[in-house]
């Protein structure tokens, strides 16, 4: 079998999209800024052809006049036309500011890339830039002017050098993180030199910051240039400059206040434009996406779910305390694609249910929906989550807050995420206990200590005083479990709780969970992709594929006697199922990949990848009793497979042999 895979059909990224240009065009401020700057430059460069006056032309009838038909923006103390002078000097001002940008940002970026590539260079460059940043920039520039006169391009270049130290600081962190990417390691293994890596792999990643910083430094350059001209260090006298015009206007601020307006406004607008462009380009594309749904969405979601619950048939008989019954649960993106469809399972008190499957099968979505913690834009679209007879799918946010942490708690894959790095373990644990158990300070501290001992931490006193970064991953997961236990939950939702841990630590955490279930009678919903973990701890298992439960029942009967082809295939692909002696030459594979939710077919969702698929698989398949114990299976061929004792076949022929055969056939 040739594992033929078609790449996911995402539209090809254009160079424009990559270069963040669209962000500029979609932001009104950025767009206005870009239009203003472009118009200013165009007007200034074409000035000799359209301006009504030369910059030195004097009209003595209009000295210090306001706007008039002859002089649209008025005239200055020598009767020179303001409009002409502003536009004639614009290109020079913008051009020399660009020198600062090129020198400052260019030098800063080169320094940052050099420093990121070598620790020794970083030491030297950082010391040098620290000295540069401690130098008084204004004094240096005035000293330069004293020495060489008002050579504006030179002054702006020196300003750029002074600014580059700050740019270096901004860029260094980013350059270092790019330098530590695996693709940089891969390029080094290829034999790409230091310079090649900086130019080909680090610089493209820095481009966004470079563009944003350039826009901001451009504005700074203009302001400083105007400031210098204002104190008399601008271009030689008859030549117009924005700063010089503001300076001369300031001398007539009482007798001709208008004089200040045109040049001041143009300068302010130009600086604002540069900053607006910088802001538009700097906006992170995901800045708006928040983890938690907004209040409005939650309210709407609650109303929708309540309507869905009302439409669903009433609960036949009230379940026992601590019983979780999920009935026909569907979860989907608001306004479209379903992510989980018609999931049904029960978790009795004191039992562990495993939700198992590959990534993209809806395990985590199912698990977090039990706590009402679905991400923004995703909600329960149907079915019921019955907890102690109450339907959590239609519960209000307030009801859920009362249940979360107290009745149902969550532990996640990344234990460090559950812990705030700014506070000690003891502080976080006692705060949770005080909130959830309404306990006093001393009582909470004693409870925290006993909780840590309960999760198998020997030196609990020391751990209480530690910060999260001071403890190991396994210890952090124990603390996260203690945190989850602080509200004495009856149900623990564990989302891949051991995936990030070493196997020896995983075994310890699983033992801990097992003893907690035994001692407290709580139940656990365990999301995992590891069939060995299922075998170790789960009483029941629901195998999920593409948002559906495809097989469910007692763990022993499902893993030892699987009925669904997907379960068969997972077991055959798992190297843990074999010892070194019976290790096959090739592992079984499943061709293709889990389909995207939008591509789910109407019939069996596994059919496209199934070795046993036939025409009967094109219709929707219900979850039916499998006949072994109380198991259920969603496959029309399950009985047939069971009778014939068929297993998922490993591909016997290596792929290169298949290719050879194909090539021979072609020839």
């Amino acid at each position: 079998m040739i594992p033929s895979i078609t790449p996911t059909a995402t539209p090809r990224k254009t160079a424009l999209a990559k270069f963040s240009g669209h962000r500029l065009l979609t932001s009104p401020g950025g767009l206005a800024g870009a239009v203003w700057l472009a118009a200013l430059v165009a007007a200034s460069l074409t000035a000799p052809w359209w301006l009504p006056y030369k910059t030195e032309d004097q009209d003595f009838t209009a000295v210090l006049s306001g706007p008039s038909a002859a002089h649209w923006l008025g005239a200055d103390e020598l009767g020179r036309d303001l409009l002409s002078r502003i536009f004639a000097s614009a290109a020079g001002t913008l051009g020399t500011s660009l020198i600062t940008v090129i020198v400052g940002v260019g030098l800063g970026t080169i320094l940052a890339m050099t420093a990121a590539a070598s620790d020794r260079a970083e030491g030297i460059i950082s010391r040098v830039t620290e000295i540069m940043m401690s130098l008084p920039g204004t004094v240096i520039i005035l000293a330069v002017i004293g020495a060489v006169g008002t050579n504006i391009p030179l002054i702006m270049a020196i300003l750029g050098i002074l600014i580059s130290a700050g740019i270096y600081r901004v860029m260094l962190g980013q350059a270092k993180s790019l330098q530590s990417q695996l693709y940089v390691d891969a390029a080094k293994v290829d034999g790409v030199g230091t310079l090649g890596i900086s130019v080909r792999h680090v610089l493209p990643g820095l481009m966004n910051t470079v563009v944003v910083q350039s826009a901001l430094i451009f504005a700074v350059g203009m302001l400083i240039q105007a400031g210098l001209a204002f104190i008399g260090f601008g271009p030689p006298i008859p030549q117009p400059s924005w700063g010089g015009m503001i300076q001369s206007a300031s001398q007539h601020v009482y007798d001709a206040p208008w004089l200040m307006v045109p040049s001041g406004a143009v300068l302010a607008l130009t600086v604002l434009s540069a900053n607006a462009i910088g802001n538009a380009l700097g906006k992170s594309p995901n800045a708006a996406a928040s983890h938690l749904p907004s209040a409005a969405i939650r309210r709407k979601r609650a109303a929708d779910a309540a309507a869905a619950a009302a439409a669903a048939p009433a609960v036949e008989n009230a379940p026992a305390a601590g019983q979780l019954s999920v009935r026909g649960l569907s979860v989907g993106v608001d306004g479209g694609t379903p992510l989980v469809t018609d999931v049904t399972f029960d978790v009795a008190p004191g039992t562990v249910l495993g939700l198992v499957g590959e990534s993209g099968c809806g395990k985590t979505m199912t698990a977090v929906s039990l706590l009402g913690l679905l991400p923004s834009g995703v909600s329960v679209t149907g079915g019921q989550i019955l907890w102690n007879g109450k339907n959590l799918a239609s519960a209000t946010e307030k009801d859920l807050e009362g249940i979360r942490g107290r009745d149902i708690a969550l532990i996640s894959q990344e234990p460090m995420r559950a812990l705030d790095p700014m506070f000690t373990v003891g502080y976080q644990l006692t705060a949770a206990i005080r909130r959830l158990r309404k306990a006093g300070k001393a009582e909470a501290r004693a409870a925290a200590l006993s909780l840590l001992e309960k999760v198998g931490i020997v030196d609990a006193q020391r751990i209480l005083k530690s910060y999260p970064h001071q403890i190991s991953g396994g210890m952090a997961q124990r603390v996260a479990i203690a945190l989850a236990l602080s509200g004495k939950p009856r149900l623990l939702v564990a989302d891949e709780p051991t995936t990030a841990l070493d196997v020896t630590v995983q075994a310890e955490i699983l033992s801990l969970l097992r003893s907690l279930v035994k001692d407290t009678g709580m139940s656990v919903v365990m999301v995992t992709h590891d069939l060995g973990v299922v075998a170790d701890i789960c009483d029941n298992v629901a195998v999920m594929y593409a948002g559906q439960v495809v097989e469910g029942g007692r763990t022993a009967s499902i893993l030892d006697n699987p009925r669904h082809p997907y379960t068969l295939a997972l077991l055959a692909a798992d190297p843990h199922a074999n010892t070194a002696h019976d290790m096959p030459e090739r592992l079984a594979t499943i061709k293709g990949q889990v389909p995207q939710p939008k591509d789910w077919p109407a019939g069996c969702r596994f059919a496209a990848r199934c070795q046993f698929a036939g025409s009967a698989c094109a219709v929707p398949v219900p979850l039916l009793p499998s006949g072994s114990e109380d198991g259920e299976v969603r496959c029309v061929k399950a009985d047939e497979l069971a009778v014939e004792g068929l297993g998922w076949l490993a591909t016997e022929v290596p792929t290169h042999r298949v290719l050879e055969i194909v090539e021979k056939d072609m020839a």
Binding site: K188, G191, G205, S359, A507, H576, L587
Partner: protein, 335 residues
């Protein structure tokens, strides 16, 4: 044919063929100057060889130094002591131009398929890079990239796409293609399948096995999962805190581990058969291995002594040498 005779044949072949890779007394300390001299070694006196066509598995927990060894071999990590030789020549401190001269014979596949390909470059550009730095013309590099993509089971058109358009398993195949495009002799696979789902993991493992058989490749297969390692590796090296605890034929190490740490590691790896797993759990609990302590063991003794159920005073004072036990080498006073 039993496993033992296979091993004997392998051993005979080893005597005649020169080692593909030889790592001798390798020591790596992080940091610079005085700081490094006082820091505990991340890799502490590691020795092993890889013969032509052989796959050696490097197993250990996080922080055991297994990835550091891989990086030291690839020249991505400065070596503090010892040597690394590739096909008989010393590459311990080789610079990038010297590494370029190795002709792409020493390559790597990294763990994270999301960050091992530059997201801003097309697949074709990433695959062509190792060829381009060796002066292969653009057109030829492109056609070789297309051939290689086809070989790892992806369409030729993939050369013009970006990494974000592929799934994790497909990206890992692309990484394999990138490693193999310039006909390497040895590939360092650093947790090459640990980020993948079961079925894609099986696809990539099969692909690695096929390519090895097809081209006579050697692998250094670094992984935390001993079951994955035993699928591909003929020999296994077990590391703990930078030191070799046990090394030997894969079957011997995984089925009758001699070192208490290897025993704990093997027993902790769960199998997907509930009855057997219950047995293994009992076995693991009966071993009595203690939870990892936050503090490091004393410098002179066995690094595992603080967790070891067999540890005595001797273990905390004297570092056990690697000695022959059956087919394996074991660093334990009581093995």
């Amino acid at each position: 044919m039993s496993i033992d005779t296979v091993e004997l044949e392998d051993a005979e072949a080893a005597l005649s063929a020169p080692a593909m890779l030889e790592v001798k007394d390798l020591v790596v300390r992080y940091g610079h100057g005085r700081k490094a001299a006082s820091a505990p070694a991340a890799v502490d006196g590691v020795n092993f060889t890889i013969r032509p066509g052989e796959t050696v598995g490097l197993v250990g927990e996080s922080g055991s130094g297994k990835s550091t060894i891989g990086k030291a071999i690839l020249g991505l990590q400065k070596v503090s002591g010892g040597s690394v030789s590739f096909q008989g020549s010393d590459i311990t401190h080789a610079n990038s131009s010297r590494r370029q001269e190795l002709g792409g014979e020493l390559r790597a596949v990294f763990q994270d398929p999301n960050s091992s390909l530059n997201p801003r470059k097309t697949i074709g550009a990433s695959l062509a890079e190792p060829l381009r730095v060796r002066g292969v013309a653009a057109a030829e590099a492109r056609s070789r990239a297309e051939d290689m993509l086809e070989r790892v089971g992806l369409p030729r058109e993939a050369v013009d796409r970006y990494p974000s358009q592929f799934s994790g398993g497909q990206r890992q195949r692309i990484s394999v293609a990138r490693a193999l495009i310039c006909e390497p002799k040895l590939v360092v696979c650093d947790e090459a399948v640990s980020a993948l789902d079961l079925s894609t993991q099986a696809q990539v493992l099969n692909l690695l096995a096929d390519l090895r058989d097809e081209r006579g490749l050697s692998y250094l297969f670094i992984a935390h999962d001993i079951s994955v390692v035993q699928f591909l590796a003929q020999r296994v090296v077990v590391l703990y805190r930078g030191q070799i605890m046990e090394t030997g034929p894969a079957a011997a190490v995984t089925e009758s581990p001699k070192h208490p740490f290897t025993q704990a590691l093997v027993a902790a790896s769960p199998v997907p058969r509930p009855a057997e797993q219950a047995e293994r759990r009992k076995l693991r609990e009966s071993l009595g291995v203690r939870t990892a302590a936050a503090v490091a063991a004393s410098a002179g003794g066995c690094p595992f002594s603080q967790r070891c159920p067999l540890a005595t005073d001797l273990c905390t004072t004297e570092r056990p040498a690697l000695r022959s036990v059956g087919q394996s080498g074991v660093a334990c006073h009581y093995a």
